[in-house]
Symmetry: D2
Subunit: 290 residues, 4 copies
Amino acid sequence: MANIIGILGGDLRSVYLANALTRSFEVHVFYLEGRQPFVPQVHLEGGDQSLLARCPAVVLPVPVCQRGLWLNAPLWKGEVPLSVCLEAFPAGTRVFGGGITGVIRTMAGKGKLELIELLDQEELTVRNALPTAEGALEIAMRETDRTIRGSKCLVIGYGRIGRLLCGMLRALGAEVTAACRSGEELVWAEAEGCQPLPLEELKTAAQWVDIVFNTAPAQVVTGEFIREMRLDGIIIDLASLPGGTDFEAARIRGIKTIHGLGLPGKCAPRTAGEAIARTVEQLLNKGQPR
Amino acid sequence: MANIIGILGGDLRSVYLANALTRSFEVHVFYLEGRQPFVPQVHLEGGDQSLLARCPAVVLPVPVCQRGLWLNAPLWKGEVPLSVCLEAFPAGTRVFGGGITGVIRTMAGKGKLELIELLDQEELTVRNALPTAEGALEIAMRETDRTIRGSKCLVIGYGRIGRLLCGMLRALGAEVTAACRSGEELVWAEAEGCQPLPLEELKTAAQWVDIVFNTAPAQVVTGEFIREMRLDGIIIDLASLPGGTDFEAARIRGIKTIHGLGLPGKCAPRTAGEAIARTVEQLLNKGQPR
Amino acid sequence: MANIIGILGGDLRSVYLANALTRSFEVHVFYLEGRQPFVPQVHLEGGDQSLLARCPAVVLPVPVCQRGLWLNAPLWKGEVPLSVCLEAFPAGTRVFGGGITGVIRTMAGKGKLELIELLDQEELTVRNALPTAEGALEIAMRETDRTIRGSKCLVIGYGRIGRLLCGMLRALGAEVTAACRSGEELVWAEAEGCQPLPLEELKTAAQWVDIVFNTAPAQVVTGEFIREMRLDGIIIDLASLPGGTDFEAARIRGIKTIHGLGLPGKCAPRTAGEAIARTVEQLLNKGQPR
Amino acid sequence: MANIIGILGGDLRSVYLANALTRSFEVHVFYLEGRQPFVPQVHLEGGDQSLLARCPAVVLPVPVCQRGLWLNAPLWKGEVPLSVCLEAFPAGTRVFGGGITGVIRTMAGKGKLELIELLDQEELTVRNALPTAEGALEIAMRETDRTIRGSKCLVIGYGRIGRLLCGMLRALGAEVTAACRSGEELVWAEAEGCQPLPLEELKTAAQWVDIVFNTAPAQVVTGEFIREMRLDGIIIDLASLPGGTDFEAARIRGIKTIHGLGLPGKCAPRTAGEAIARTVEQLLNKGQPR
């Protein structure tokens, strides 16, 4: 019985998560419609929760909820209160999910369920950096009227995503400047072939930049910066809400902005779903010996 | 007066062509609407042909015509017979354009106009290979649900486009197999880091391939090949009409196909327009000493 | 007087360090022979220490000493006890150097001199990672009888050097496996296009590897590993003394090993000297306002 | 008997050629000493030619001769006149070799032997381009005191070797300018990420270049060019004798030059030997049906 797992709701990532988990689990999916590209081994339970009682582990979506406390289930016809799911889990169930808030923890009942926050899993964060960076590249290709090769790109932030993105842009022949705060990041960006730019000198880039990518969780693409930009420049902001761009200033000047949120799920749901599968497998295996 | 040039019709490439030519010409545009992103130096003539009499050189679109013998002018509200343009050019005008057929040559009158086929210009072909390859990559990113990194790609043909495309895919971390006919191309593909595959063994690739890119002007992606493919594979055909894919066989099996035609104009009109500008400039300069 | 700086001993890096520092300092060099490629602005003092009294800052070599407590001065004909230098520095002198041991600190006198350990400077460490990785690549090219392209490389450790080295090897078309301890490093290595290998499974690589690069400061290339290797494999160990290889086991089996120590100084002294210059400049500028 | 092959003389490439051919032939080697790294399947005949009578195909070295008409056999203690070998081959023997001159053809006797020039085999030329380019990179790494990353490289000629070399240099982070004669090559070099430079403007590069690589079979690195170079620049000439550099002008100015000849054999004999093996196999298989 230990190798039964349930998957509830979610977008296409959940479909590929389910497919991937069949290699080591008996997989049952709930609140996901059957016409999605499931492999035959996946058991489709639709809205029938009865089998949840037999699942020692379940995976909720990333993010778990939408609009308040409804299960995030865009591939299901109806609406499902999260509480209905939580109540169906037997005590001791290991519940994976992304964005587990205090409210959800309270609803889950003290100690009854073992809640595991997927967004805290370092390896999953790294695994998501790649589809995020590729998604940003895809947006840049789609939204600009020039080739990436020869484009003057500015990437703000040299963390996981910034670094992978810089690597891709250079590989395709863009001129890449990496703006970063710390001295070590600057040296590192330079060692990897980017033009380094201390963040405090960011404004000097406004006049030449074709494509701005922001990965920093701070208001860095300011109105002042935007007012210096060419009108055919474009801003792709990858920072979580509220983003790091003065979107209003950009709207006023007529500069195109794209706020790229949840890119792994949108641009590469298969890769993203398989990344969740690997993380869930590792966490469950690690727990085994207990 | 020698440095006046006229541009007639065309898509966004014509706009960027016009902008680029202002660096060395007095540019007048016809059959292009004014709200496109023209630089201020471009003279907008709309449908008023009177100034054509003063242009020693004009650039028609690539391709020159659409639906028969109408000027290809998607950014103009009305329809313009090509004959109306040709008649407005004074004798001796140098007329650039793409896809100049025998019919058009006849209409132009024997020897009256100097017709220069842009598609025959070797350098322009090379310059267009880059936006074509990037356009193919953009399609692949958009139409698949996985990352390019780790994807099993098959590129058929190792000419200009195939070669650039293979380089981009490898740079992004795909596993790239290049299928080519000649022994020298195979060795070259291998030297540049691809897995070489003799074209006659193409069928062996059907079972593992995630993304097929065809650049060969021949029916290579046959029904037989398609019947061996996984259902989640995808075919991106870059060959000119009619393409190299058995589209009907793909439709029947439910395998996604995209026939990517005219990618430079669609995916990177600025780069493509500037490429035309450089070619026109070179050809006009070469002619100078006459 | 604040912008006088002295440089004592060292290898070719000291020469390029001196050249680079002339852009912002009056540079005097000691215990370095004049026929080295100095720019004309550098003042050659030879063994005459009298000018040291006027230098508010001096740079000792990396490492400071050789064979006990003699100044590391391979480009000087004589031998210089470190104590002789230290005594020549006036109180308050800022003394940069690499590998400043407790013994040296004691010799310097309590609080009399401000000793600044270059090897503790994070940015310099990053700056040295690049010439180290290139040096390792150079060794691999020189010592093997095959091309890097197509070689099966194993890089142990995915820290700064390992990561840059993996990137270079992949860029040249090698098949690269990165062996690392932490799960996050493994995921990261995979995201950057390497085959990830958990360190505990290292032994499985012995049978197929062409070139082993070790960057981990631990005994990882064990006798057991070496006994499984093919005889034409090669081991390049970049870890500091005593290295991470069972050199004796390799010697017995006749497997070639190279212990690559101090590669920045050996393979790219100019780059390495300029890196020290930048670090010294930054540290002195930071100190300015005091 | 058809699958017996003889290998006579040559450098380390012959050793690896012999090893590689054992996968499809019974291999006998002559004029190669036994302590080389042969696999056990290779039959060592030393200077005993008797078995040559049974070999329907033999491979002579690249180049066949040294100092006149002696067999090129640096791994053999004695000197062997080529005529002695040729006479030992029975009529109809297929004789592969590199640099088969008219004199050799005459010695071989009219029609008696089938002489096959390896240097005329297009695929082998391509296969040799890679180890040549890597060899040039190795020389650059060894002979300069800076890292390739950040170096200003000038590659003259954008044929096979120039192109691969440009790709490697860019991949390692150098700034690469490609000087070429034809307009198409210039556009192509630009499309692949190099700075294009028309050959007639070559002189402008002299002042900034760190490393010159010449692949063009013409006197392009002239005394005039060399007199403009910085003294710490370096010239690596890959063109066949007499090379494309004014070596005397460089010597007078004290600028370092390296004439890199026969790099595949020197830098990657295993890769080069295997390349010859593949070519010989293909040519013999093609001949089979006769």
